[in-house]
Each structure stands twice: as C-alpha cells, then as structure tokens.
Amino acid sequence: MRALQQMGRQIGRTVMALLRELGDENAYARHLKIHGQKHSAAAWRHFQEERLGRKYKNAKCC
C-alpha cells in the first residue's frame, strides 16, 4: 500500500514537473538561478523576451 502511495506521489510529481516544463515555469526558475535574480515582473519579462524569441523560431509539428 505504501509502495503504491509512493508511486502515486512520484507520478504526480512527474506530471506537475511536466506541466511546469511545458508552461516554461521550470525554464524561468533556471533563468532566475543562472542570473542570480529573484522573481519580479521585470525578471519575468526579460525571461519572456529571451525564451519566447527562441522557442517560436522552431517549427510546430503537423
């Protein structure tokens, strides 16, 4: 039972991490860490300019 609960928690954590990755939240956390910044509106905008500019240079699949 405990093993099942652990597995469920692990799956839940992975799903949340995936959602955060797809939503660029993980990338933002990395961005803050690399630049030694704290979260702020300006930091987010700076991140958006960098991240989105690169992200939407790649083709989306059919």
């Binding site: 797809l22 960098e50 989306k60 699949c61 059919c62």
Partner: protein, 688 residues
Amino acid sequence: MPKILGHIFWAAMAVLGAYGLGAIALNRGEPINSMWLVTASACVYLIGFRFYAKFIATKVMALDDTRATPSERLRDGHDFEPTNKWIVFGHHFAAIAGPGPLVGPTLAAQFGYLPGTLWIIVGAVLGGCVQDFVILFCSIRRNGKSLGQMAREEIGKVGGFTALITVLLIMIILLAVVALVVVNALKGSPWGTFTIAATMPIAVFMGIYLRFLRPGKVLEVSVLGFLLVMGSIFAGEWVAHSAGWAPWFTLSGMALAICVIVYGFFASALPVWLLLAPRDYLSTFVKLGVVLMLGVGILFVRPELQMPAFTRFVDGTGPIFAGKVFPFCFITIACGAISGFHSLISSGTTPKMIAKEWHAWPVGYGSMLLESFVAIMAMIAACVLEPGVFFAVNSPAGIVGATPDLAVATISGWGFPVGAATMASLAQDVGEQSLFYRTGGAPSLALGMAHIFAQSGGGRAILGFWYHFAIMFEALFILTIIDAGTRVGRFMLQDLLGNLHPKLGQTGWMPGVIGASAAVVLAWGYFLIQGVLDPLGGINSLWPLFGIANQLLAAIALCVATTILIKMHRARYMWITCTPLAWLVVVCYTAAWQKIFSDLPRVGFLSLAAQLQSALDAGKVPAAEMAATQAQIFNNRLDAAVCAIFLVLVTTILLDSVRLWYRILGGAEEGKLVESPYVLSQLRPEEV
C-alpha cells in the same frame, strides 16, 4: 522479473498481438469491437519498443550513457539543460502531436478501417519511430544540430540548401491545408465560430495577465484560460440560438478564410507574449488532456466500429479524396505512421534536453509510438459513426449532389444507407444547421469523439457540448500551428532573403518583418482560398499534396540517417533506414506521378485542367462561371507544378546521397563523420 517470466510475458504479448491483428484483418460483414484495434496496436508497439528499438539502440547506434550529451556539455540553463527523461518524453510528444494523426486517419477511413489501421501500426514501428529515434540520436551526437545543418554537413551543400527550400514549401502547404480544415469545420456554424473567435481575446487576456498582473504564473493563467474557453462553449450555444447574434457568426467559407489569413498575419507580426505564447500554453494543455480523455473514453465505452474493414472506395473512386488505396492511403496518413515533420522536432529542442543517450530510446521511439496510438484512437472515433453519416459529412457537394436529398440518395446508392431525417436530427443534436458537406475530417472526428464522450455519461443531451468541445480542441491547436508556422516561415524566408540583401535578413527590421510575414501569409492564403473555392472541397487536392510533401521530407531525413550510419561503419545495418526510405520513395513517387499525370480528372491535376480547358474552349461553361473555371485551371496547373518541384528537390537529395553512399562503400571516398568528440559524462543520477 525472473528471466523465464519475462520470456512468458513477451510470448503472451506476441500471441495476443497476433490474435488481435488476425481479428481485425479477417473479420468481415459484422461490426468489430474497437478493443481489438487497441489490443493489436498496443501489443505490436510494446514488442517493437522492447525488441526492435532496443536492437537499434544497442547494435546500430550503440548508445552510450557514459558519453556526455549536449545538454550536459553545453549546459546554459536555456536551450541546453539535462532534463528528466519522462519530462522530455512529454515535451517531445506534445511537440510532435498535431492535427495530422487525428485528421489523416479520419480521411483514410473512406477505405475502411483496415488499410489505415495496418499502415498506422506497421508504418510507425518500422518507419516513423525509427526515423524519429535515429534523427534524435544523430542530433544528440552533433550538439543538437538541425536536420538542415546535418544534411549540409553530412551529405553536402546541395543537400542542405534543398532541405531548407523543401521545408519552407512544405510549411506553406501544411498551413493552407490545416487552415482549410478549420474553415470547413466552422463554415455556417455560429456556435463553433463564436467559440473559436472567443479564444483570441481569451489568449490576449492571458498574455496581459501573465505579463503585467501575475508574471510567471503560467499554470494559473492556463487554468483561468481553460475555464473561460469552457464558458465560451456554453456561450456559443446561446449565440447560435440568438436571432440577433447568430448571423454575425454564421460565416461562409470565403469569409472564414479571410479571417484566418488576417489572423495569421497579425499573430505572426504581433509580440509573441501577447497572443501566440498564451494560446500555445492553452492548446498544449488542452491537447494532452483531450488525448488522455479520448483514451479513457474508448477504454470505458469500448465502442463497436460501424465502418467495414474495406469499402468499395479502395478502387480509387472515394468521395473524400480520389485515388486507389495504394498509394493514397499511405500518404493520407503521415503523422501517426511516418511524418517528416517529426525530424525537425527530433533535431530541434529535444536533443538539447536529453540527459543521457539511452533516454533517446523512450523519447524518440516511444513518443512516436504514443502518437501512433493517437492515430489509432482517431481511426476508432471516425469508424464508430454509421458509414452513411460519415460519408454524408465528409463528401463535397460536387461529388454527392448539391442538396441533402441528392446527397443521401447518392450515398445510399453506394451501399451506405443514410436518411436526410437522420442527418437533420443529428445536426440538431449537435447544435448545427447542417452536417452535409463538412469536408476536412474535423467535423466527423468531432462527431465520433462526441459519441464516445457522450456514451461515457450524459447521452444525447450533451452531444452538442462534446461536439463543440472537440471542434474547439481541434481548431485551438490548428490555429496555434498557423500562427507559429507563419512566424517560422517568416524567419526562413528572411534567412533566404538575407542572402540577397543583409537588411532583409534582420528579424528586428520592421519593414522586413511585415513584408516577409505578408509574403508567407499570402502564399498559404492563396492555397487556402483555392481549397475553399474548389467544387471538390479542396481536401481532394491539398491533403494529398501535403501528404506527399511530408513523406518526402521523411525521405530526406532517412537519407541523412542512412548517410550517418554508413559513415559510422554500420553499413550492414543500413536496411533499418533504407527499408522505410525505399517504401516512401515508391509511395511518394507513385502518388506524385498520379497526382500530376493521371488520366482521371479527379486524380490528376493536369487532366482536370485539360478537361476544364476543353469545356471552356467548347463554350460549355456558362459566362458567370468562366472566371472561376479559369482560376481552377490555373490552380490545378500550379498544384501540378508544386508537386513536381517537391519531386525534383527530393530527387536531388536522394541522388546526392546515393552517390555519396556508393563512393564511401566503394572506397572512393572516406566517409568523414562530423560528430562531436567523446566527453565523459559527469552527471549525477540525482541531476536527472
């Protein structure tokens, strides 16, 4: 698991898979349960993943976890970042899964469920997954380089340049055809049009919320956006029943096409954070959620397939698109079996996130298997409809007759009974004025999905909601492809134009941005309008063109993969990439030849142009239709020319590759591998 239990498990899997394949292949004359398709495909996928993909990983590519990947060596926290393999798996799957695996199988269901299903399963295991996996591996070993860069470095400059032009042309056809799918789904549908129109202000609201109100809260704003979209579906029903509002959202195909073109231009030129990015977040989450829901729905309802294994249309006389089962089934279903576009993703973001080389196994091969399973689910959703209903929805007026009575008489005459009253009742159930002539695949797929969801709970009372939910889901991510694709097309064009004048290549120079965006939008917009005006529904000409182009891109990717395998001294395994390559060459060249030169006007572009020209010359065309006929003649010749250009481009790469293989294998040239050097990985397990 002890070894003997493992052997027993895989033997049981093989027997079950063979039994499932036998059941779907040999059943005739009575409905078959969809669980047979699920069982057969799941067993084959598992066996393909465990044995064939592992063989490729071990013997052919010799994946090495001690070798540092680009995500570790070039780690910058932006593009290059070692990431958990299941997160990369989900990320890669979300990137490769578009409307293709949903729409292609729906259209190919006109041949019956069997040809498409077998192609999806076999094509994926031996072709599509192999392409994605090998290209991902090649890109990992080359610092995450793109397909075009690898083609240039491994085959030659001609190959690289040709690949770039091919991708740009394919992009234009892709955008036109997916835009046509949306236009045909929303034509004359105030409910659907309102819902989709509402997603634009919702996306802008999300963009502003994320930028100024709650910066960084992407998941939070996505939940809000999703709730608002759900609200817009309910509001859409009210709009459809409102005498004042409904006419504003009841648009013709041409009006919708112009709206989509204008939208594409603005979405490409506006700041990304305002419209494109929030819409992309929303559509990605909705896409993953709906795919999961559809899977659960099919397992829960276990619907029976009403479509026979084969229909009479394997002979090439199909109403949705003309052409025999070979080669047209194999180009109609591209994504889901093998899609060249995936090679762009496998050599794009994904290789920069892979932490260990062995992660390419589940990510490259496994994600494509999942996409193939999505295609199987789409096939099931299309085939749960009564065949008469399926053909009434998907057939153009130019084939079945311009009135509902004529259409039901024609379709019933084919042996697929359907009544005008049945269609009217179904249209009423889903809140539409009519379901006739809704070509493009999206409405029939939405109907099938709505049936499955409604049977899971709620019944006919909520059929309308589920139908419009499914339309919203399809249109949402198709529009995301249109705006992102137009933007990428703009960058590609500016890249090419930059060779003429450096200023034109600057992505921040506004006149260049506007000019290149307009050029790309006008290019795909032209093909879109051509499709809207086509009396045969547009899909008949554009979807095969797209399918041929997409498969030819896969042929380019497999040329690159084979070249690299030969240079790696793995020539004895080149059959792994050469087998799908040979198949694609045979299929695409046959299809392209038939689309250009077939004597049958519904199949061959030139013969249709000649037929229309003869009618024009003989004075058989009424004066009011002369301009439209002349435009049709030009369009058919243009389609033939585009098809021929694809063939010339791919033949160039193919010949260039074969020449190189011959020289390397014959010892006339040393195959110099352009691979990044071995560096020992220092990544700790907890880091991934």
